[in-house]
């Protein structure tokens, strides 16, 4: 919190400095353009989040964070580039968010193969997740909210699962790792997966396909379950104002920690997450609107109460928009809902997780082109957990070059 406050002040002061070109305003290019370095620093200061609505995989609230991301692109040749981004989150977690080689076999064609810790394939949020691209401050529920489900710990009964409703930031189950830990979001947007990705563009259609070691909810650097994820996305832009995308993914999400707990005949890679998403964007003039619908299913490779496989479903609907009311000044809002499927427990049909709704509205103002000040208010409502409703306010300063 102190670091974020300090950084917020420094960034605000530096807005004046940037005018005097004390800070870079454009990507730094060295070796005749062969190496290009850019960065984004965002300092976010918000109130406490006792309901853990905005907590992420790194055990911090997205509304209290100091993030420094330094990206680099090494242009070895026309057909080979190496790209990477090193991220510092919450002033404590340093991790390569991405590090991969981009191969362009035919430089004149829009076709790339990327190998390494690759950017996300699924959904529309990946490219707009940066402070500069995010319309508000919070991260969409589907890409951040922690469910109680864990990759390394399994419920033995339906009651075990229901007991953890609304406790995704610190859940625990009897099988596998016993210690309480963070659960899984539908899609993890703070870590990247590792694998091979192909991308192409032909006319108005852009496609991406990837094979990775992890899953959407549990991306991995090293494989820990012998399973593979297949993920693909197609985007069509029939006219410049409209983009429509469809994404699908299927990957193993359980880790070796639960291997011993599996019933005989069950395998780790029976624990499959299947996700389907549809998204759309419309923009014209000063107006931009987006919508995204995501459905996810996790298969538990044994019965919660001794029967067949259990499929735990979740679906998210998001609508967001912004309107620029003056140069550098814009208003934005996002409304979203995260729902869960039902399971049978004690003869009753129950939602396995607590549904969450969130509305966030805010404004942003660009002091200069590459320094933006944001403020937003977020209302969270959850049908479960210790704290069921909370209104949170946050401010953010974003500087980039």
């Amino acid at each position: 919190m102190k670091q974020a406050l300090l950084a917020l002040g420094v960034l605000l002061l530096s807005a004046t400095g940037a005018r005097a070109q004390l800070l870079p305003t454009e990507p730094v290019s060295v070796a005749d353009g062969r190496l290009v370095v850019s960065a984004e620093i965002s300092a976010t200061v918000g109130g406490g989040d006792p309901g853990f609505f905005n907590y992420t995989d790194y055990e911090y609230s997205g509304l209290r964070n100091l993030r420094v991301g330094v990206g680099a692109e090494l242009r070895a040749s026309r057909w080979l580039q190496v790209l990477g981004e090193l991220r510092l989150d919450h002033a404590t977690h340093v991790e390569p968010f991405a590090l991969y080689a981009r191969i362009r076999p035919w430089p004149e064609r829009r076709f790339d193969i990327q190998v390494g810790r690759i950017p996300g394939t699924f959904g529309a949020f990946g490219r707009t997740s940066y402070g500069t691209g995010n319309l508000v401050i919070g991260t969409p529920l589907a890409y951040q909210y922690l469910t109680s489900l864990r990759p390394d710990s399994l419920p033995a009964t339906a009651d075990d699962l229901l007991r953890m409703r609304g406790r995704g930031w610190l859940s625990n189950f009897p099988l596998g790792v016993a210690a309480a830990d963070r659960g899984l979001p539908l899609i993890n947007s703070v870590r990247s997966d590792t694998g091979v990705q192909a991308h192409g563009l032909k006319g108005v259609v852009e496609w991406t396909a990837a094979v990775t070691t992890g899953s959407l909810s549990n991306p991995k650097v090293r494989d820990d379950n012998g399973g593979r994820q297949l993920v693909g996305r197609v985007v069509a832009r029939p006219v410049p104002a409209v983009a429509v995308g469809v994404s699908a993914a299927r990957g193993a999400y359980l880790s070796r920690a639960v291997e011993r707990a599996l019933p005989s005949g069950a395998r780790l890679d029976d624990g499959i997450q299947r996700v389907l998403g549809v998204d759309g964007e419309y923009s014209e003039g000063r107006f931009l609107a987006r919508a995204e619908l995501i459905r996810s299913h996790w298969a538990l490779p044994f019965a919660l109460s001794g029967g067949g496989n259990e499929r735990l479903g979740a679906h998210s609907l998001l609508v967001e928009g912004r309107y620029r009311i003056a140069p550098g000044l814009q208003l934005a809002a996002r409304a979203e809902r995260l729902d869960f499927s039902r399971i049978q427990a004690g003869g009753l049909s129950e939602l396995w997780e607590a549904p969450v709704q969130r509305i966030e509205a805010g404004a942003s103002y660009s002091i200069i082109r590459n320094v933006t000040l944001k403020a937003s208010v977020q209302r969270n409502v959850r049908d479960g957990g210790r704290i069921r409703r909370d209104t949170l306010a946050a401010m953010q300063v974003v500087y980039w070059f």
């Binding site: 454009e26 990507p27 290019s29 353009g33 290009v36 370095v37 850019s38 990206g71 680099a72 692109e73 580039q81 790209l83 990477g84 981004e85 968010f97 991405a98 981009r102 362009r104 829009r110 076709f111 790339d112 990327q114 690759i118 950017p119 996300g120 394939t121 990946g126 490219r127 997740s129 940066y130 990705q197 991308h199 192409g200 563009l201 852009e206 991406t208 996305r233 006219v239 410049p240 104002a241 923009s283 014209e284 003039g285 000063r286 107006f287 931009l288 620029r324 003056a326 140069p327 550098g328 660009s366 200069i368 082109r369 980039w400």
Partner: protein
């Protein structure tokens, strides 16, 4: 070079001796002096006998020793593929203008109109110089959206997103430097230099410039390059003649 000097001496003699004072002679003198350093000029005698100053010209070359590099694309680490090709902006051009304008420069003039196109993710031209009151059109010649905006003090505006084949315009009512960007493509940037008088010229790719119809007198000429004034020097424009010199941007 020797011939040019002879021509210069000839033109000076014509000016000193009064010459005929017609513009054809002035133009001829200017043409004869092409390529010669320094200034040539002439004055005309009015029927009443008073000497009338004939406007002259300033020309020369802005020698940019270190041409700026175009803005690189930011490494798009989160993008699943590389971006398409783009044109690189022509960064060899600068602007040469008079620091202070001669009398009559602010007389009412027809506001100009200029065009800054958006092609292959590049503003063309990269540098535009206009007078106060000029309207600049920003057509989109790409297949994708662009969003032209500026947060400069001299002119804040946001034209919003618009598609290929459409154009939006903005009037520049205050002198100053306006940095123009695209909200969608961060590497797209350009300059609109808004001047309060018409005594300026954007250099060609070789750095050459020419400012016509400059009343005779001594001025400070400024060489502007890559966002700021970089060099200046005093220049005397002779009546009906041409001041020819070189400005160096180190």
């Amino acid at each position: 070079m020797v011939l040019a000097r002879f021509a210069l001496i000839g033109a000076l003699v014509a000016g000193v001796t009064g010459g005929t004072g017609d513009t054809g002679a002035a133009a001829a003198a200017g043409a004869a002096a092409q390529g010669a350093p320094g200034a040539t000029g002439l004055s005309a005698r009015a029927p009443s006998g008073a000497t009338v100053q004939v406007p002259g010209a300033i020309r020369g070359r802005l020698d940019v020793r270190r041409v700026a590099r175009p803005t690189e694309r930011r490494p798009e680490v989160a993008a699943p593929g590389s971006a398409g090709p783009r044109d690189l902006p022509d960064l060899r051009r600068g602007v040469v203008y008079l620091e202070s304008a001669p009398r009559g420069a602010f007389e009412e003039r027809e506001p100009g109109r200029a065009v800054m196109d958006q092609r292959n993710e590049t503003f063309v031209p990269h540098v535009l110089a206009v007078t106060v009151g000029a309207v600049v059109d920003f057509p989109n010649s790409d297949k994708t959206f662009h969003n032209v905006f500026s947060l400069s003090r001299a002119r804040r505006f946001d034209l919003g997103r618009y598609a290929a084949g459409h154009s939006k315009s903005i009037r520049f009512d205050r002198p100053g430097l306006v940095r123009v960007f695209c909200d969608i493509h961060s590497h797209m940037n350009a300059y609109v230099l808004v001047l309060s008088h018409p005594f300026f010229d954007v250099t060609d790719v070789d750095g050459r410039f020419r400012i016509d119809d400059v009343p005779a007198g001594t001025y400070t000429v400024v060489g502007w390059y890559d966002g700021e004034p970089r060099t200046s020097r005093p220049v005397t424009v002779p009546s009906g003649g041409i001041a020819d010199f070189e400005l160096v941007v180190p």
